[in-house]
């Protein structure tokens, strides 16, 4: 597989339960704060947005860039993380 970070593997390996948004791959403190300001305070709320966008990673990446100013790497990392989580648990 391509290089996945430890954070990615930690998130995708188990149900997300009540994990904070900063547990998502690609989402650090800065982006995490911006997400919380927009009302996305838990990882499962971001999952909700991902599902609303029909699990389309491209759309979700655009949304992340548009709403919190994430760069391409961070956004695609988060999208891929959520996609794999959905593939495993949804």
């Amino acid at each position: 597989m391509s290089t996945t970070s430890q954070k990615h593997r930690d998130f995708v390996g188990e149900p997300m339960a009540d994990k904070p948004v900063t547990a998502l791959s690609g989402i650090g403190e800065t982006l995490g704060k911006k997400l919380e300001e927009n009302g996305f305070d838990k990882a499962y709320v971001v999952l909700g947005q991902f599902l609303l966008l029909r699990k389309d990673t491209e759309m979700f990446t655009d949304w992340l860039k548009d709403s919190i100013g994430a760069n391409s790497r961070q956004a695609s990392s988060c999208a891929q993380c959520l996609k794999e989580w959905c593939d495993a648990f949804l």
Binding site: Q49, L52, L53, R54, D56, M59, D62, W63, D66, S67
Partner: protein, 151 residues
């Protein structure tokens, strides 16, 4: 006429019209879909006629270049064979050369086919096939002569 004034349903139908697959249009997704539509509308107005014919010509040029390079390589290799007289090595060399030629010809064939779906230039593709087979025949004749020379 601004997108933000349209209802959710109107926005949805517009998205479908531009071929954008979309989910439910709610508060969190609305802004994203509006921006996508703006981009799509801009692209639709800027789009000019297709340049497909130009692209096909480029593909044809590419195939010509690869043919010529393969032909020149074969000629230089034949010259090397005659000069060195390394008979023992010629066998595998010929095989690898033939294999290389086969791969060249196969790739060239696929590119030609993708670039020429119409029947207008069928004689052109026929000519290209002859161009491939002729060096192959020449090479096989040279190899035969070389083997005869050994004996």
């Amino acid at each position: 006429m601004s997108l933000s004034e349209k209802s959710d349903e109107e926005l949805g139908s517009l998205l479908s019209h531009y071929g954008i697959k979309h989910g439910p249009i709610v508060d969190s997704t609305r802004h994203l879909y509006e921006r996508k539509l703006e981009k799509a509308m801009k692209q639709a107005s800027v789009k000019t006629s297709s340049d497909k014919t130009y692209y096909r010509e480029e593909e044809e040029e590419v195939t010509y270049i690869t043919y010529q390079s393969a032909a020149t390589r074969k000629r230089s290799a034949n010259m090397v064979k005659r000069s060195t007289e390394q008979h023992g090595v010629e066998g595998p060399d010929a095989d690898t050369e033939a294999a290389v030629q086969v791969t060249y010809s196969s790739t060239n064939h696929t590119s030609v086919r993708s670039g020429e779906p119409t029947g207008d230039k069928s004689t052109g593709s026929l000519w290209k096939m002859i161009l491939v087979l002729l060096p192959l025949a020449v090479l096989s004749a040279v190899c035969y002569y070389a083997y005869a020379y050994i004996v």
